[in-house]
Symmetry: none
Subunit: 199 residues, 4 copies
Amino acid sequence: MARPRSEEARRKALAAAADLVIERGVGAFSIEEVAARSGVAKSTIYRHWPERAALIIDTARATFEHVVTPDTGSLRGDLAAYTAAMVRADLSTGRSAQLMPAIIDAANRDPEIATLVDRLKDEREQPICTMVARAQTRGEIPADLDIRVAVGTLIGPIVFRKLIQRQLIDQPYVDGCLDVVVAGLHTLAASAPTPHRTA
Amino acid sequence: MARPRSEEARRKALAAAADLVIERGVGAFSIEEVAARSGVAKSTIYRHWPERAALIIDTARATFEHVVTPDTGSLRGDLAAYTAAMVRADLSTGRSAQLMPAIIDAANRDPEIATLVDRLKDEREQPICTMVARAQTRGEIPADLDIRVAVGTLIGPIVFRKLIQRQLIDQPYVDGCLDVVVAGLHTLAASAPTPHRTA
Amino acid sequence: MARPRSEEARRKALAAAADLVIERGVGAFSIEEVAARSGVAKSTIYRHWPERAALIIDTARATFEHVVTPDTGSLRGDLAAYTAAMVRADLSTGRSAQLMPAIIDAANRDPEIATLVDRLKDEREQPICTMVARAQTRGEIPADLDIRVAVGTLIGPIVFRKLIQRQLIDQPYVDGCLDVVVAGLHTLAASAPTPHRTA
Amino acid sequence: MARPRSEEARRKALAAAADLVIERGVGAFSIEEVAARSGVAKSTIYRHWPERAALIIDTARATFEHVVTPDTGSLRGDLAAYTAAMVRADLSTGRSAQLMPAIIDAANRDPEIATLVDRLKDEREQPICTMVARAQTRGEIPADLDIRVAVGTLIGPIVFRKLIQRQLIDQPYVDGCLDVVVAGLHTLAASAPTPHRTA
DNA sequence: TGTTAAGCGAGACGGTACGTCGCGTCTTAAT
DNA sequence: ATTAAGACGCGACGTACCGTCTCGCTTAACA
């Protein structure tokens, strides 16, 4: 019955928030500044996002919007395509690399934010699960492989380097990690044959 | 001619800072609260640490104090001992898992802090480098292996799970990751023999 | 085609406003709260009263609705009846005593409100003027008495005690003040005979 | 042991507060504006005064600083001098006339402020009490006169005209009121002789 | 073995941002 | 056309910490 929330206000605030993060870092991120830049009143921002952290999260979410799930026929090929896209679209921009620590920090002390962060995490990891499942169907990797291990060994090294070590991610690094992990998975698959292969 | 800085003040402030993080999380961490709890005056804290982030870093540093560099004769054994100690002493307590994002966030916008964080990082990764070097000497893994890849694939999955995914680290997960990575490294070493082995 | 302004909305809003003032004081008075309590939409309230202060005034006006103009044959008698009614119906409830300062404060900075307040004031003082005029006709008090002085000395002490001193008004106080002022007026009438008396 | 509160900050804030009230009225009075004008930080203002109203009160208090207690030998003379000073120093400036309603409004809803206001009131009324006592000693007015009645009839008409009616106070009005009230008091003293006079 | 400069606790200071509240205006759907 | 509902821009509220700066007091190294 009342006026609907202004989509324009939301859009303008998010855009200003993203700009602000890029220009001056998460540390300089403040609702007041977002309000000043966007022309959206502070109270309106608080109507849309209950607190600072929620706006940061929504700002970050856009980063993961275009995650792909390639299907090249081989795990190595899928991963190469996936990581290439990830590096290109996401980590290499430096945006999520700056946003994520702040977000995780916020999640560590606010369960509600933690929920949102978990959702964000699932969105990002879903492609890996799909690729791993396909590889398992093809018998490339052990059918009983713990999916957590798959995700951890495949994404872990890359995310670790970017977010924790705060280093650039170059192609040799990514290739080297994939070489190691894919070789390991293949070796395990051969030595502990899956039902599919033993058939 | 002047009185030396009170080591007791430093100790009390650090202890109160650690307690505060454990009890109420990084979010509740503030110089004012540390001063109130420790009985050390705010001005004294600022005399010892130039700013908030520096105290957080020093609080975190204690966490990595007891990192070990085991020497069991095999890469797998070394890693098992190392990760066990890491899990036990550090990540499993939840302390560094909360501190690190805050620290990294600070480092992302303050180069001086970044320097401190890099030092922290090196301290933690040094054992891995040592273990990898020994394994290379033994011919267990490729001699030309990029050390960054070694560190990334070995620590990455664990740190990723703890800090980014904010999940508990259990032994099956650690074992699974080590299985994959060590198998990969061994396979690569076999298929692309090192100079040492081919000799 | 148009619906007339809802008299019910007006009534409900006024009632809620009065309740709110009585229960929680003028300080807690807000349009938002009146809207919430009355079920009348905020926009509707603004259609009936152009601003906060106007609603406060209307809320106060009800207080003076039943002011009487007694005619007992003597000034002392008239005043006794008048003040008794005033004390009973108005000041003793504590309502106007709380509303008036807020209203006057509003009037001090908004001329439009000042106009409304002046009207309110005139309504209240009219009976005094009537009673004084009758007393002058009877020769009880000086014919050339400044009406402002009459009003001031007669109402002033009572209003002063209630609004400025924020004290209860008891009968001895009222009687004492009337004794002094009426005695003074009679004395002046005797010593400086009015045209009426000298005739 | 700590640094003492800055008297300069207090002084500058009070001065800015007074200026603000005079220029734009109590309605436009805000801590933020006082901070901006005075150059004293908002947080410092809140260190000195717990809330808006407290600063308003202190701003008003200055108004009554120079209240006199004349001793001319007659009640009429004392009152003339006293009211002249009051009119000159206080009400005529328009400052307290604007401040008082706001203060009283604040007192109506905050007991702590009410206490401060009561103190303010006592300070202002003390001279009246002294003058009345002297007049009683001289036998000018009834020895058993209720002091509340004395204060009410003497100040009430003036304060009423200024604060409630929001009118200018001119000399004829003051004189007229004093004529009435002093005449009344003398008459009562004559008709109900004090012990002193009967001696 | 005083002296004295620094360390210390306490906390005031100028700031910035927080998240809340109320204002008065406005848009929307329903009646 | 009026209403209920509530979003909007605006601006002040009072709070929490930041990092800096006096204050007196205490204390260890030097003279």
